[in-house]
Amino acid sequence: MTRDLAGGLFAMVLGGVYLLYATRIHSTALDDTVGPAGFPKALAVIMIALGLLLVVQTLTAAVWRAKPSPDGRGDADAEASGLQPRAVIRAGGMLLLGILYVAVVPYAGYLVTTAALAMAVALYQGVDFSWRVVAVSIGGAVALWIIFNLLLGVGLPAGRLGDLL
């Protein structure tokens, strides 16, 4: 029940915020009958309506199921698979590594940052530090650089470090 209720409330909030920004879209002399804001406004209303429907449906179902079922099961089953703090924290760590990559790559360049990311993720996922991790990370970064830069001609960030060299 909590999942549906949270989902419904989230949909209503999302629809409301989206509607707020949709009303701020400027109209121009080129506007058609619908206008640039027409479709987003319609989507926002649908989103709010669906969210409301989900909330009402969930609350109605909760009233109907007020009495505990004879076998003692029910929504607990569905909620058992919900958010686990440890999993969210671990995922947050992985996200942080990604954010650090995006922040550092313009300065340190693709090769160094990619090798560092690979090594950091491997260590974060439980590999013990050794020369093997270092070698695999550097080798992998070089392999990706060869594929993307040399083979496919994609210009990868050299970084300030690369510029100095």
Partner: protein, 489 residues
């Protein structure tokens, strides 16, 4: 018969066969790398085609398209990262099969269905170029609106709010009619909108990395079967229906400029589920869920060339690159191409047939290496998927903003997975949102704001009617199931 003989003659007198093999190999490599789309893979070869004869050049580009559309399924199955947009539908059941230790079989089904799809595509291209192109030309904005709504209807009843979220993402960027900015918040990076691939990679691949980071016992992964495995006779028989569905939808969608392999793959997936006797297996590692979208998007590699060859209309980015290949060699696709440069057209037909066989051989050579790679220690694989995703996404626009966007979508996907919200409606909303809105508004511009245009256009009326039937049927079935469940309870 004349076409076959002339195509065969051209194949033995030009290096087109070598070009077909080289194109497929290059295409598989490009398609297998997230962020490198089929059109980019083809575009990278354009400078090389200057030095080739026209037939080999066109075959090289077309075979690259075939290889790239197939190659996208490899990372989708092995690392939950769609190499191309259309591979996102294959990912749903392909990756589940991988998790169950059936990566070899999933890749085998993908290759087998891809080859069948490519073959159907070439046959359709050769036989039906004329009639199918006429249908494509009859498509006006109201028809495209009907097509978009039909695409959305196949999944609308599954999770309406997730679908609307996808449609919301599709409204970011430049307005399709007036050119004004919407939801860009002053960011120039958002002016072009949010690429569907960024959403898919974020939702599917990055969220998977986040989930794996939080899973206990991550080192004890299920080992994928260490060799490529094709379906046995019994399974091959079972796959005939989804492949036929994929073939029909791929043919239909391919000839519509702008519709493309992604829509075809998702529609084929949903229709295969609808008509399957084992619906409950879909999403949990169904072989049919791999076969249908793979067949559909490979059919499109052939049928997408119909409007290009017949009318000179490039219906997709990849077709536009192929058009550039024609123009480089002084050839103008269109009705006169068949008269003035029939040898090139026949060479292309023959080259695509060769590319179908090349797909088998190159695929069989490449896939065991991929399976070996995915069986390495999980921590290293996670590390390199992260690095590969960033490298691939950066290569699209050379933008760090895209990396941040993908990380953001990964966070959204992570919570959607934890709360068990389906991705499919969101992805389909992103893919179809632009088409639905732009064709709806263009139709109203044409009609002066009169909505009757959608029922006056016969194609639109037909497509919208089928969409209504889908929705009513799904809602009716759901109501019936609820009543049946209550009665049983």
């Amino acid at each position: 018969m004349d076409t076959i003989i002339q195509s065969a003659e051209i194949l033995v007198t030009t290096p087109a066969v070598i070009a077909a093999f080289a194109g497929v190999a290059w295409g598989i490599l490009g398609g297998a790398l997230p962020g490198i789309s089929p059109s980019i893979t083809m575009a990278l070869l354009l400078p090389l085609t200057y030095s080739l004869d026209p037939i080999s050049a066109i075959v090289l580009l077309a075979a690259t398209y075939v290889g790239a559309e197939y190659g996208g399924s490899i990372p989708a199955i092995l690392i939950r990262t769609p190499g191309t947009n259309s591979a996102a539908a294959t990912l749903i059941d392909g990756y589940e099969m991988n998790r169950q230790g059936k990566a070899g079989l999933a890749l085998g089904i993908s290759l087998y269905s891809g080859v069948i799809g490519s073959f159907i595509g070439v046959v359709m291209l050769v036989l039906l170029s004329g009639p199918l192109a006429s249908i494509a030309l009859a498509f006006k904005p109201p028809s495209y609106f009907g097509l978009g709504i039909l695409g959305l209807s196949v999944i609308a009843t599954l999770s309406g709010d997730s679908l609307v979220k996808g449609l919301m993402v599709a409204t970011v960027g430049t307005d399709p009619v007036t050119g004004g900015n919407r939801f860009t918040f002053g960011s120039p990076e958002l002016l072009g909108g949010i690429e569907p691939l960024l959403v898919m990679v974020g939702l599917f691949a990055v969220s998977e990395l986040f989930v794996q980071a939080g899973e206990p016992g991550i080192q004890h992964q299920v080992k994928a079967k260490a060799r490529l495995e094709f379906p046995n006779f019994k399974l091959a028989r079972r796959l005939i229906r989804p492949q036929a569905i994929g073939g029909a939808i791929g043919t239909f969608e391919g000839v519509m400029p702008g519709a493309g392999g992604t829509v075809a793959a998702f529609m084929a997936y949903n229709e295969a589920r609808r008509w399957s006797s084992r619906k409950e297996e879909f999403g949990k590692g169904s072989p049919e869920g791999v076969a249908a979208p793979e067949t559909a998007n490979n059919v499109v590699t052939g049928t997408a060339l119909v409007p290009l060859l017949s009318f000179g209309i490039p219906g997709s980015n990849s077709a536009a690159i192929l058009l550039a290949g024609f123009l480089i060699h002084g050839l103008t696709p269109g009705p006169m191409l068949f008269e003035r440069s029939a040898d090139v057209v026949h060479g292309l037909y023959g080259g695509l047939f060769v590319a179908t066989f090349a797909q088998i051989l190159v695929g069989m050579a490449v896939l065991p290496v991929c399976i070996w790679l995915v069986n390495r220690r999980r921590a290293y694989i996670t590390a390199f998927i992260y690095a590969l995703v960033f490298s691939g996404i950066y290569s699209i626009h050379h933008s760090l903003f895209d990396l941040a966007l993908v990380l953001g979508m990964g966070v959204v996907g992570f919570f959607m997975r934890l709360l068990k919200f389906p991705f499919l409606p969101t992805v389909l909303g992103v893919v179809l949102g632009y088409m639905v809105e732009s064709s709806y508004r263009r139709s109203l511009v044409l009609s002066g704001g009169d909505h009757a245009i959608f029922v006056q256009d016969p194609i639109s009326l037909g497509l919208l009617s089928v969409a209504v039937l889908f929705i009513v049927g799904s809602l009716g079935k759901r109501a019936y199931d609820m009543v049946a469940a209550r009665t049983a309870g």
